[in-house]
């Protein structure tokens, strides 16, 4: 499934939650903007990702939302500013 993950981490209290979550997401998805990730994952990878970040997210303070569609085909992506392809495999 094709995933867009966004999170909002409360930084009023001193903690390294934001950092931890960021690093975990980076292992699975491509970082496209501050606290926004995107990428294609299979079911098991998605479950692993959720389990890993759940350890750090605080239910009462943080928020993390995942938008997903069955395939990248069912998702339109439009750049209002300069287009940039971060998800390419040709680097």
């Amino acid at each position: 499934m094709y995933i867009i993950l966004v999170y909002d981490i409360n930084t009023e209290q001193k903690s390294n939650v934001a950092n931890r979550v960021f690093k975990i997401c980076k292992k699975y998805l491509v970082h496209i903007q501050n606290s926004v990730f995107e990428g294609e994952l299979n079911e098991s990878q998605f479950i692993n990702l959720k389990n890993e970040i759940k350890k750090y997210l605080r239910k009462d303070l943080d928020s993390c939302i995942v938008f997903y569609s069955r395939n990248e085909k069912w998702l339109n992506k439009e750049f209002i500013t300069e287009p940039k392809d971060d998800t390419s495999c040709f680097l």
Binding site: K26, Q45, F90
Partner: protein
Amino acid sequence: MQNSYYLFSNGELKRKDNTLRLSTEDGTISDIPIEKVYDIYVFGELNINTALLNLLSKYKIAVHFFNYYEHYIGTYYPKESNLSGALLVNQIQHYEILNKRLKLAKLFVSGSADNILRNLKYYNTRGKELDNSIQEISELMTQLSYMDSISSVMGIEGNIRKNYYEQWQIIINKDIEFEKRVKRPPDNMINSLISLFNSLLYNKIITEIYKTQLTPTISYLHEPFVKRFSLALDISEVFKPLIVDRFIFSLFNKNMIDESDFEKQTNSLKLKESSFKRILKLFDDRLKTTITHRTLNRIVSYRYLIRLELYKLIKHLIGEKEYDPFKIWW
């Protein structure tokens, strides 16, 4: 589906936050999600350290390296985790006993020839005059069963390929002088594309072999003493007509490539970097092409077909089911 990553930039590939980071010479940084990496192909000049190799081993990712001329130079083959002594013994046994080895060698060649014929017949029905060649290759195939040494099986294989390559000028709608296969260095567009994609296919197969219990150095058709992962050469025979040859035909016949994509070296041709990236992308897409598998009754990609072939070989080696080489069935 996990992706193959192709790195062209010069710079450094390192471990950062338990994932991969590519920092290029011009200062751009890209993070590669490690969970999504299937294998890595390195065409640029990269600095690498052991922390990175450590991470690659943990995730069992093979890295294939190429030099400036896009020639394969080697693979970082992480520690084998799929090991099976029993299979190794069987693999060696099938090599040592001539009858068993001959049987496998013949199967690889006949699989290859079947797929070659399939390609020729496809173009024959599209108005290319290939009847003679189909006839000749079918004849060579029938001779195969009388062969009693590996070198004569190899000879048949060579003759089939030679005959097949002679038809390429008919199949490809372009005026390119291509009479025979020339290597070291390849002398024209077709030869250099064949060399390039054969070696890429060969690397894809190494990645797949790594994911099974097979030992890549023991082979049956090719001699296993050639300082290479020669089992990949055996398997590649079966897949070349489907993956490489058809790809090259469509590149030329759909006008996706011409002389301007190449630059002349002293005595060979080399793809320009921008064209190389574009064509590699097409090749990667081709490997991700899916078909419905007849017996498994589910959708598989070309890449996974290679793995299935290896599983079939394992079954043959442990005596569970006779190996039946992959045939294009559509």
